[in-house]
Point group: C2
Chain length 229, copies 2
């Protein structure tokens, strides 16, 4: 799941899709989520798309990399190149051009894999012990993930958990905003899964957002009050 808020200061916010998907049915489904400097993330995606079109390009393009690991390397190299170019120009620190990505998907012959790609271009992979990644404004929404995530969850329960986690962030931080983009990928389907955009008026999202406040208060009330000793 990805939000769509981008900002250059609180007086300059826009809605931009931060979830990109490349799909060739039967061969690959690759999804990239981005956080950070919008010029950097859009240029990275732009270069990945260009590489798809240009003949004789040195790098393999994302529709032709042989594995998810190679896709992560390709994106990491591209991020590093984009940030280096932007940083060479002027006085700004590299941090200002930073961007972080989550890459997930599957390529025929390999497993479903998920990577977190850093602005430096290196990356880590999700494991059974740490099965989820967050990027961007991640702290507000982490506690509920830590407590409620269960790798055996159905898609439907995972979607509920993502709504609760994002809603916790939305209630606390202006840099994250609706609508939210959701995508499911079914292992070994090698095709696009279910996709949905939650707008502010979405009845399910509203039910979760309103219901969570009440449920949280009830949960809080169910715990024993402190007693002075």
């Amino acid at each position: 799941m990805a939000d769509t808020r981008t900002n250059a200061g609180v007086d300059n916010i826009s809605t931009v899709r931060k979830m990109y998907t490349w799909c060739k049915p039967g061969d690959r489904l690759i999804t990239l989520l981005s956080a950070g400097n919008l010029a950097t993330t859009q240029t990275v995606v732009g270069l990945l798309e260009e590489h798809m079109k240009a003949a004789g390009e040195r790098n393999p393009h994302i529709m032709e990399v042989p594995s998810m690991f190679q896709a992560a390397r390709l994106i990491g190299d591209t991020v590093r190149e984009v940030i280096k170019t932007a940083s060479d120009g002027g006085a700004q620190s590299e941090a200002a051009f930073g961007a972080t990505f989550i890459l997930g998907g599957q390529i025929a012959g390999g497993e479903t894999r998920m990577f977190l790609i850093y602005p430096e271009g290196n990356f880590i992979e999700a494991t059974d012990d740490s099965p989820f990644f967050q990027i961007g404004e991640h702290k507000y929404g982490k506690p509920i993930l830590v407590r409620a995530l269960d790798p055996d969850m159905s898609f439907e329960m995972a979607a509920k958990l993502l709504c609760v986690s994002f809603d916790s962030t939305l209630k606390s931080n202006l840099s994250v905003g609706l609508p939210l983009d959701l995508q499911f990928y079914g292992r070994d389907s090698l095709d696009k899964g279910y996709e949905k955009r939650f707008e502010a008026s979405d009845p399910y999202y509203k039910a979760i957002s309103d219901g969570w406040s009440d449920a949280l208060r009830a949960a809080f009330d169910s715990l024993p009050d402190f007693k002075r000793d």
Copy 2:
């Protein structure tokens, strides 16, 4: 409530009290909570204590300032001075010496007041609309405060809420750690209120920490699952 974890990297952590209280029964109760660079916060407190002892000191000392507003100014000026001195010495950025404070209490003739003091030495005051402050690693613990805080809460419920909020942070971030120091101040008492230190073995804290996981899962289960349309 304040935690007691301080670190100079994850391989160098210690326990340090971050809650300081100055009390003259019938006249004033002033409590200061600190976050940030330990050298800065300890020097600020050290200077406040020195000012208490030195005769002919230019600044009024904290046991003699006539109002909580003047106490906030005194501490703000002291913070700015300490950070400026540390920053003059070398190549480090000012951010590395930063510290933030919450100041609360009451001085005879005035109301109970609470301030958040920035590293720059300026400060803001709590209001009916924004009745709480957090400093340091605040994001993980904010969502539950936003949802469950009620200004009419009893001390006992507020202590429960603080335990839940801190526990959310403790579960996600190594820079915050037990034990936790709690202090109540009763309006117009002008004296020390109830104080308690929650150690890791504290039965109430454990009941909250364990119970909150179960309560949160139950709350989560009570919400409707997402349905694909």
